[in-house]
């Protein structure tokens, strides 16, 4: 072993080392060039995310080729290296099952594109803006300004709602009115509220659905459409306006009613009314 050491410094070895170094430097240069070429050729046709992916791919493929050539110059046998790499891959594969699963899920996610950077998505109880879609995870910023990392595997397995895919959204309001109210009058009041609210879209028209006879109220679903950005302002404004309009029209929003019986179907509780002044006496 020690006998071999001086061999490294012999002229021939030094030339090999020099060649390998030049190959490595060239490799980095060409890889960067390939990455820029991808940007120039496909810059306008691909999304930001796909572009980043292809640029990285081009960079590492070119670099890997040059690294392999450099290793050959140094006298390494590629066949042996590949074999060793194969064994290593199996070992690493077992050790990093979760990461690998996330990586593959990430590839599917990029292929499927259910959302992109800047979209607002909802996964389980987490709602936030997508900051980045990476190989292993997706990073979100929630509305209370927290940074949330969600593994790609979770995204593939669970239900993901993209809130910003379409330009308009529907707001479903569930209302109850007292049994004494005329449903047609309620409908007219609600439609008038929707018409006067400028955030509420005229088309698609507001939807009025009578959902049933509830325990204490006539149950109604009133659905209105809004521009995506106006969804929250509409939710706040229209509920206040409905309450005002109901109050103005004398429409009652009931609270739960309970009737108590003594057990015998028709006989009420025996109640004695004590007059105020007689009690004072």
């Amino acid at each position: 072993m020690l006998d071999m050491l001086p061999g490294i410094f012999t002229g021939e070895r030094a030339v090999d080392l020099f060649r390998a170094s030049v190959l490595l430097v060239l490799g980095v240069l060409f890889a960067a060039l390939a990455s820029r070429l991808v940007l120039r050729v496909a810059g306008k046709r691909l999304s930001q995310h796909h572009l980043q992916l292809f640029r990285r791919l081009a960079f590492y493929i070119v670099l890997a080729l040059f690294v392999a050539s450099a290793l050959r110059e140094l006298g390494f046998s590629l066949a042996v290296l590949m074999g060793a790499a194969g064994v290593l891959t199996v070992a690493i594969g077992f050790a990093s099952q979760t990461s690998a699963s996330n990586l593959i899920s990430g590839l599917f996610l990029i292929g499927e594109r259910p959302f992109s950077v800047g979209d607002i998505i909802k996964i389980g109880n987490t709602t936030g803006e997508v900051l980045s879609i990476d190989a292993l995870s997706v990073k979100l910023r929630t509305f209370d300004n927290l940074f949330v990392r969600i593994p790609n595997e979770t995204l593939i397995k669970s239900e993901v709602t993209t809130l910003t895919r379409f330009a308009i959204r529907r707001l479903d309001l569930v209302l109850g009115v007292a049994y004494k109210e005329d449903i047609n009058a309620v409908r007219e009041v609600l439609m008038a509220v929707a018409e006067t609210n400028t955030l509420c879209l005229d088309e698609p028209a507001p939807l009025f659905i009578f959902t049933g006879f509830g325990d204490s109220s006539l149950d109604i679903q009133f659905s209105v459409w809004a521009k995506r950005d106006s969804f929250l302002p509409l939710r706040n404004s229209i509920t206040a306006e409905i309450k005002q309009a109901f109050d103005a029209a004398g429409i009652e929003i009931p609270f739960p009613h309970r009737s108590l019986y003594t057990g015998e179907a028709t006989r009420p509780f025996p109640i004695t009314i004590i007059a105020q002044d007689s009690r004072e006496d």
């Binding site: 379409f166 330009a167 308009i168 609210n197 400028t198 955030l199 005229d202 088309e203 459409w225």
Partner: protein
Amino acid sequence: MHDNPGSTNSRQWWLPQRVPVGHTLSCQLGSLTLAVHHAVGEWQLVSRHVDEAAAPGIPELLLRAGALEDETFERFLYAGASDGLGFTPLLADRSVVIRPRQPVFLPSGQETTMYLSTPVTLRIHLDDPELTLREVPMLALSDTWFGPSTREGELCYSGKTHARHELADVPRRVHRAITPLTIRNAAPTVLPLDKVNLPVPLLSVYGAADGRLWTQGVSLQRGSDSDMAALKIDAAPPADAGKVSLLSGPRQAQSRAGLVRAFSLLFGV
């Protein structure tokens, strides 16, 4: 009191105004109530909307010495020395979908001209150098969606019309620009005019001597055999308007592709 007699109750309210330092210009322009105060080194602005039904038909401008009475104004810091203030009416930044109040039908082979009015936006600017302070819609318009489904389509503003075809019947309103819309139905079937998508960002605003605002005429022709409708925007202001001056150009340049649109994209049928 009135340093600038030309600015008081002039029908042509879009003409340049002079507001010396320490003075306030109060305007009632249709449904928009606006007050602009020129303070030392800044301009102060406050605007309100009144109900369209209660809006006066003639503009009222009053210049007086003194500050704004309303304290909810916005301040625009300005180092210039100019007193010049300008109001420019612009059309809305999105198309307006207009629905007639009663169902309107156009039988086969018929042609009609309807006078549609759409609310304008007011650009308030200083004249030297020309700086825009603010754009205020003169009437808050409701949003609407115009498209075949909730996935495809475009966001528009919505408007209601009486679909008047006699100019004399069109009420005089400061905050609206009138567009003569000529529709010709060359198809063999009756054309229901449930709603019409008026591409106002492609139109210019003209001011007439009587204080009315106009746009170029728009003509739509429903072809005899296809679902396409040809949309044509006249180059000149309509003859009905009389002598007019150009106040603002279109917000969007008209593309050749925009000339012929799918019929459903214009009429929503």
